[in-house]
């Protein structure tokens, strides 16, 4: 396989959820435009941060990429195979190489299974390891994520949030994936534990040449862990660039406002930063605004913003933004 070829190509991906009315004769009365026409590539071995506020569609994007939700339109091409065109066992076969780490370490582990069973389950489903072999692999995985190997016989409730997240990571690694979709893997954890898990993810990436799609709303952590960052708003990617480029020269008015809103843990910068306070709330994704999705809260909005949807354009080398005014 050509190493320069993107590991994942997302092309015009959209996911609309129907809103149904009525009990027996259900009619569709509208759609939630959760993800609306997003496109990006992922390079092998990189971490792409996907950030945005709640309801912007970042988690739906992750789940649609891995085909937990089938997309409304668009393509997801993983290592040359279009996942949207396959189903059943063919999909399962391809999807082995893509795994997911979920946000809630309390809900994402079956409380009736032992840690060993949880981690071994993907191997049994895909017939990669059996019996003693699987047991040995479980111990190897526990060791890799920094847990004692004798934890295999215990149940999830015996563990803290951070330890559970390590169990979830071990399960994701069981099939030796190349791409891991991390859906807010640290937002449910305490600050001192977050750093433990992030350091683990970084170590594993280096050791196993993993590619991460890191979905999060913590902009400081995303800057720390990502190589490139994509910003989502109301189902659209409004800006995408290399990490330092995005944080130091944000071009889209939404990115600028978002970055200026993050509190910085340093009293010396208090009052010295320029704050862009956004007015109002995010519009409903059921009736998204015409033209630019951000225009209702944008301080720069002009007539054209209501009429024409801005395309993602390469404004500086490798720096894309969807705004008429930059």
């Amino acid at each position: 396989m050509n190493p320069d070829q993107p590991i994942l190509q997302v092309k015009n991906l959209a996911k609309y959820f129907p809103i149904r009315k009525g009990i027996i004769l259900q009619r569709t009365s509208g759609y939630v435009h959760a993800v609306d026409d997003i496109s990006f590539d992922m390079r092998r071995g990189e971490t792409l941060g996907l950030v945005g506020e709640s309801g912007c569609g970042k988690s739906t994007a992750g789940r649609t990429i891995i085909q937990l939700y089938r997309p409304t339109s668009g393509n997801v091409i993983f290592e040359g195979t279009d996942l949207t065109g396959v189903s059943g066992s063919a999909l399962r076969q391809t999807r082995r190489k893509i795994q997911m780490i979920f946000q809630d370490p309390y809900a994402s582990l079956d409380p009736r299974m032992t840690v060993g069973q949880i981690i071994a389950e993907p191997m049994l489903i895909h017939h990669t390891h059996q019996g003693e072999q699987a047991k040995r692999r479980v111990q190897e995985l526990l060791d890799m994520v920094g847990l004692a190997t004798n934890y295999a016989n215990r149940y999830p409730h015996e563990f803290s949030g951070g330890q559970r997240q390590r169990i979830g990571i071990a399960r994701a690694l069981a099939l030796d994936p190349s791409l891991i979709i991390c859906d807010e893997p640290i937002s449910a954890l305490d600050v001192s534990i977050q750093a433990q898990v992030v350091n683990l993810l970084e170590d594993l990436q280096r050791r196993m040449n993993l590619t991460y799609l890191f979905i999060a709303h913590d902009l400081s952590m995303v800057r720390h862990i990502s190589n490139r960052v994509a910003v989502m708003y109301l189902g659209h990617i409004v800006e995408l660039a290399a990490r330092d480029e995005l944080y130091e020269n944000p071009l889209h008015p939404y990115t600028q406002a978002l970055l200026s809103a993050v509190p910085i843990p340093d009293p010396k910068v208090r009052g010295k930063r320029q704050r862009i306070i956004l007015e109002g709330d995010v519009p409903s994704p059921i009736h998204p605004p015409s033209g630019c999705p951000f225009r209702t809260r944008c301080r720069l909005a002009k007539d054209i913003c209501a009429q024409v949807r801005p395309e993602n354009r390469e404004i500086r080398p490798e720096h894309y933004a969807a705004c008429h005014l930059v």
Partner: protein, 328 residues
């Protein structure tokens, strides 16, 4: 000078199936007129229980305030009659809670809820309504008069938190206690709320206690900071001092584990190993000792008391390391 609020030796415990949980183990803190005190700590560190105990909002049983006093303008809140404490809570010390979705009554109109604290202290209905409109406009709700008849479900999370703040401020309290009021909100909405609270605080000259786990918010808002761990205050200092010269190993670790938005992230985060303590026993030794990189033998035997390392800067540590110099 008499402190506006002075908490001494507060201890709170809860009975549970596993035994008695010692949530707060001797917390003392002071608050001056117009001052903003930030309390930081992780979940289970006792920060919310401290202020809830002080205001007697702990459900008893299973909770129990085992020791201590909390004097507000010279009177001990913990010894007041139920009627007296209710007077203080609705008028002089008001609280904003974390979850704006569940803290408002869904079957009462916004107007009814915002005017309630005023009517309790004998303000007439018409006058209360006028003040409510003014207050709602102050917290940035447009068409406030029309919204008096709206219900909470018609408002977004950020708007509801504004209503909560209007409710808390309508009696011009001496102290506003905010328990993670922006944790459930998005950053852009959080920025709106922080900006609003800062303005109102300066206009009304009230004191604030702001509880959070986010050191960024502390750096933006607080004058003085108390860091809690295992039901104890482990470090307390003016905000600039705490961020510039943290001396307790937990604070040092916490600051080191944070990535910064304003600097490139090539540095490895310094994680604090291990887990927070389970408080089924009253700590006899330093609660942070098992996770501490600077730990000494004494730390496992005796619990250090808060002591000054510098004027206005107190820590509870036998070592008081200087980061960068006392490396293990």
């Amino acid at each position: 000078m008499e402190k506006l609020l002075s908490v001494q030796g507060l201890e709170t415990e809860f009975r549970s199936r596993e035994g008695v949980v010692h949530a707060v183990n001797g917390v003392s803190l002071n608050l001056d007129q117009g001052e903003t005190l930030g309390i930081v700590g992780e979940s289970g560190s006792g920060k919310s229980v401290t202020v809830m105990s002080m205001l007697r909002l702990i459900p008893t049983p299973p909770g129990k305030i085992a020791a201590g006093s909390a004097c507000f303008q010279g009177k001990d809140l913990l010894k007041m009659s139920d009627e007296e404490i209710r007077q203080v809570r609705g008028t002089h010390i008001n609280m904003v809670f974390q979850d704006p979705m569940t803290s408002l009554n869904p079957v009462l109109t916004i107007g009814r809820q915002v005017t309630e604290p005023l009517e309790k202290i004998g303000v007439g209905q018409r006058e209360a309504q006028e003040q409510a409109v003014k207050m709602l406009e102050m917290v940035g709700i447009s068409n406030a008069r029309d919204h008096l008849n709206s219900y909470p479900h018609q408002f977004s999370g950020g708007m509801r938190q504004r209503v909560m703040i209007a409710m808390a401020l309508i009696t011009s309290p001496k102290i506003l206690v905010a328990d993670e009021p922006t944790t459930a909100l998005d950053v852009t909405i959080q920025a709106q709320i922080i900006e609003l609270v800062r303005q109102l605080r300066d206009e009304l000259g009230m004191a604030m206690i702001w509880i959070t786990h986010d050191l960024g918010i502390i750096a933006e808002l607080a004058d003085r900071v108390a860091v809690m761990y295992g039901g104890l205050i482990v470090e307390e200092a003016a905000v600039e001092e705490l961020f510039a010269n943290p001396r307790h190993p937990y604070t040092i670790g916490l600051l080191g584990s944070l990535p910064r938005l304003d600097s490139a992230g090539n540095r490895r985060l310094t994680a604090i190993d291990g887990l927070p303590p389970v408080l089924l026993q009253k700590p006899q030794a330093c609660p942070f000792a098992p996770r501490c990189t600077y730990v000494q033998e004494r730390c496992f035997k005796e619990n250090p008391l808060l002591a000054e390392v510098k004027a206005g800067h107190r820590t509870a540590c036998w070592v008081n390391p200087l980061p960068g110099k006392d490396v293990l």
